[in-house]
């Protein structure tokens, strides 16, 4: 499409560009956009989201809109702080609150450094639910740069 080619040329980008459909997923503006259940959300100077569980499987969540039948990609960083405060975690992506038909990723609590994920999915629903879970009460998981956008053409 000519307009898209033009916009890509302007930006000198070799990859197609697309809007991140999540709100504030770089966490440059605090924890805005995410809500919590059985967890306290923290915002660190490193501009990442901390999820401290206040019960087993406490979580942060955000609902967002996609175009059904069109491929999207999700990329994100996941981090454990160490020092005995870290928890195992889980990322769920589904078409219902708590659903996970598009993604259900589990992380052990011995991942001491930033991990990255980059996965494609195609939704059949227009509203999706992202849930970031901290498994262990009182402990933390940290997340950053969560990007959900149209996949490459």
């Amino acid at each position: 499409m000519p307009i898209l080619s033009l916009s890509n040329n302007i930006c000198s980008e070799s990859q197609p560009l697309a809007l991140n459909v999540l709100l504030n997923a770089s966490f440059s503006g605090g924890t805005e956009g995410f809500s919590a259940t059985n967890a306290d959300l923290t915002y660190s100077p490193a501009k990442r989201l901390g999820i401290q569980a206040t019960a087993t499987n406490g979580y942060a969540y955000q609902n967002f809109s996609v175009i059904p039948g069109v491929p999207y990609s999700i990329s994100f960083k996941w981090h454990l702080t160490g020092g005995g405060t870290q928890s195992a975690g889980n990322l769920k992506l589904g078409s219902t609150d708590g659903g996970h038909e598009y993604m259900n990723l589990n992380y052990a609590d011995d991942d001491a450094t930033y991990q990255s994920g980059d996965i494609d999915f195609t939704a059949t629903a227009s509203t999706l639910y992202l849930r970031l879970i901290t498994a262990t009460d009182t402990k933390y998981t940290h997340w950053d740069n969560i990007i959900i956008k149209l996949a490459q053409e």
């Binding site: 560009l17 697309a18 809007l19 175009i67 039948g69």
Partner: protein, 50 residues
């Protein structure tokens, strides 16, 4: 004599419009991504110049 065009049914017209609407949504998300990237590049350049 030109070939007579097939008249679309209302159902076919509706399907065509839905497809065009979906294409517009895709275009919107691509353009918004380009706009956001350019805005951040301009901001970065302005900060360097200050």
């Amino acid at each position: 004599m030109g070939k007579k065009e097939k008249k679309l049914t209302n159902e076919e017209k509706l399907e065509n419009l839905k497809k065009q609407s979906k294409d517009c949504e895709i275009l919107y998300q691509r353009l918004q991504g380009a706009i956001e990237l350019l805005e951040s590049m301009i901001k970065e350049n302005d900060e360097k110049a200050d």
